[in-house]
Symmetry: none
Subunit: 144 residues, 2 copies
């Protein structure tokens, strides 16, 4: 289970440190894809296989499924984690997610998301404000 958030920097060679807490669980081969809400998704190789199988099940006949699959597959890139836990972020993905020097790496269940850190903190504040629906869902999850 991937949880927690970490603020890291993209250096001038587009290298990003995978947070140490994630390394053991994710292994040395990752798949980075465009994500929803203007962030990137990082999956383990294994998870990616599962997801891509599910995506394949969507009919190619519907135009919006087709474009969604193009979105996910077309942008997907396999990257290797080096000995000290860093991987190389392709330029086109960096651009797509509007990333600059500081990024937030966020563990969400089976994936890690990469956010522009400014966008991430704005996004968090927004969600926090929706207390009503938050409480409702917390109750549904058995937390309250």
């Amino acid at each position: 289970m991937l949880i927690g958030e970490y603020i890291h920097t993209i250096d001038n060679k587009n290298r990003v440190s995978l947070p140490a807490k994630f390394r053991k669980e994710m292994g040395r081969v990752l798949v980075v894809t465009p994500g929803l809400d203007n962030c990137l998704f990082i999956f383990t190789k294994k998870e990616w296989v599962k997801i891509s199988e599910k995506l394949s099940e969507f009919s190619m006949l519907a135009a919006d499924n087709r474009s969604f699959n193009r979105f996910m597959f077309g942008g997907a890139t396999e990257v290797d984690v080096d000995n000290i836990g860093r991987f190389l972020l392709p330029d086109f993905l960096k651009t797509r997610a509007g990333l600059s020097e500081k990024v937030a790496l966020v563990g969400v269940q089976n994936r890690v998301e990469i956010w522009n850190d400014t966008k991430w903190s704005a996004y968090k504040k927004l969600v926090e404000k929706q207390a009503d629906s938050l409480a409702e869902k917390l109750g549904g999850a058995g937390m309250l």
Copy 2:
């Protein structure tokens, strides 16, 4: 059952003592998550597993579920309790709950809540004032 309230301090390394009364019941591995009313929740690892399974049921295709899961998983952190009963609170959670030096640790059923102690005492006063009407409602619900 976790009950009672304790005022502790966060030291300059973000360490917090888990009240001694809670230690035996909670074990050495805890999960801290964002809560409601600007506090944090502490669960045992075991409780968290249950909760995360329920959270996983929310589909990630709906935007509001997606943001909720980001909020909860991204905001959660696994922490270890050291030999003398302390754990390390990540900066981003400390910030999120507006915690400063003094915090209230409050046992509530299956979880412990962490409050800014000022907010906690204000909250208590508020609830005390509303006690009469609260009691009435609870009575109406057949609870008392």
